[in-house]
Amino acid sequence: MKRRDPLLVVDGLRVTFDTPRGPVAAVRDVSFVLGREKLGIVGESGSGKSQTGRALLGLLARNGRAAARRLTFDGVDLLRAGEAERRALRGRRIAMILQDPKFSLNPVMTVGEQIVEAFRVHANVSRREARLRALAMLEAVHIREPGHVFDAWPHELSGGMGQRVMIAIMMVPEPDLLIADEPTSALDVTVRLQVLALLDDMLARRGAALIFISHDLGLVGSFCDRVLVMYAGRVVETLRADELQSARHPYTRGLLACQPRVDGDGSDLPTLNRDPAWLR
């Protein structure tokens, strides 16, 4: 990887939700620096991993607030940027892939129309040109019959196919950063690997960075370059993915140990004892 300025700097990110019972902190003081790499954010439900990703894109629910000491994307201060500037960044340079393509694709437009629209918004090309590029894009995400899928409706696609289409749409503006929130959790295991391989291929080709948010430590460890482990809104440990097995923090170690293994012996699994000290 080329050494250059970091793409994304997050320093002291906090996300708070206003609820009837008072403000609830979902993300507390999360800091990391992202280069052109694949960064995994791992945690259990309620760890704040998804809200971290959403805060970066400004997609928090209405009662949520994000604050940080510093939040810059490629030199642009996201905290001070105007709404228009942020929206431009969000569409063009930062893209997001969500868990279930069923809910992210527009159900009343064919797949092709949606990709064409993305091209016309972002690349400002003619309808004909957009159509050609859309077909090329479907081919790039390893769809065997692009013409067929181009005319299909979202509900006619399988989960894996839908996620490929989602990746195709997100790749249209050639983003520098892709945030994927559990992109493969709704998929079958064998399809999951195909989609990941595709994602890997697309990222490498465009030199884009990835934030991969997942609950699956094993998957993130095998797919990403670096892993942030989150617990109760905090980052408890940052590791290189290939050093995952030698994790230090008892939470990370506990998570690794409590997963059943195909070659295990069936004896009781060690369970995680949550230490209140982790919250400090």
Binding site: V191, D200, D201
Partner: protein, 266 residues
């Protein structure tokens, strides 16, 4: 432990719909589970594994065409079955958020089946059932929405066990839970199986869970059982069928040049 079969399935066919739109969800599935044993059905979505489980539980829609034979300890299992037969075979569902009645307290969720089956000293049974799944009596008057996912699944397990079944059918019991909670629930299920001499049929897409929980397993694809092996073969990575091996490899995580790269799924 007796080696008699608790469950026998022979030549099971399940067809949904009729005529040209008929869809064979299960084709000629045969297996048996020894009493006190634990049998895993592994497959991806659409493999028919859940349909087999629902056929056993008598929960398929009446319109479904079922052929073949299912026996529970020698007694035939037909779609219409007596209350006494239902009592011997209980099910735990995948989604702990959907399987408990949102307007019933834990007390009612556990008490009603016990009452229906004419059991005595219901108050004691409810407290015992809660203790059995590792919850104290303070959970008794809570509503499901006041519980975490893991606690809900414990209640669902307690509900299945309170009427003392011999066989428990588990439909992906931990796939909606966090890994740390999954470990607790799997341990709980293993302990309950030992203590109550239960027979398990576990449906899962996760080979690691099946390897942990079962003594034998069948791999299903497109309605068919394509491989049936003992768990030793799985633990030794010695599966024969190509598709089983693909599943096994997928369970090991991502590799930068996976076999799945070339043939795109259509």
């Amino acid at each position: 432990m007796s080696r008699a079969s608790a469950i026998e399935v022979a030549g099971l066919d399940v067809v949904f719909g009729r005529g040209r739109r008929a869809f064979r969800a299960v084709r000629d599935a045969s297996f048996s589970v020894t009493a006190g044993g634990s049998f895993g059905l592994v497959g991806e979505s659409g493999s028919g594994k859940t349909t087999v489980l629902r056929a056993l539980a008598g929960l398929l829609p009446p319109a479904a065409g079922i052929r073949g034979e299912m026996r529970l300890g020698g007694d035939p299992l037909r779609p219409a079955r007596s209350r006494a037969l239902r009592r011997r075979l209980q099910m735990v569902f995948q989604d702990p958020y959907g399987s408990l009645h949102p307007r019933h307290t834990v007390d009612r969720i556990l008490g009603e089946p016990a009452r229906i089956h004419g059991l005595d000293s219901i108050d004691h049974r409810i407290v015992d059932a809660l203790a059995d799944v590792g919850l104290d009596a303070s959970f008794r008057f809570r509503f499901p929405h006041q519980l975490s996912g893991g606690q809900r699944q414990r209640i669902a397990i307690a509900r299945a066990l309170i009427i003392e079944p011999a066989i428990v059918l588990l439909d992906e019991p931990t796939s909606a839970l966090d890994v740390s909670v999954q470990a607790e629930i799997l341990n709980l299920l293993q302990r309950l199986r030992r203590e109550h001499a239960l027979t398990f049929v576990l449906v899962s897409h996760d080979l690691a869970v099946v390897s942990h929980m079962c003594e034998a397993l069948a791999v299903m694809r497109a309605g068919e059982i394509i491989e049936m092996v003992g768990v030793e073969a799985l633990r030794a990575h010695a599966l024969q069928h190509e598709y089983s091996r693909e599943l096994l490899q997928a369970a090991q995580g991502y590799r930068s040049t996976p076999a799945g790269m070339a043939p795109a799924e259509q």
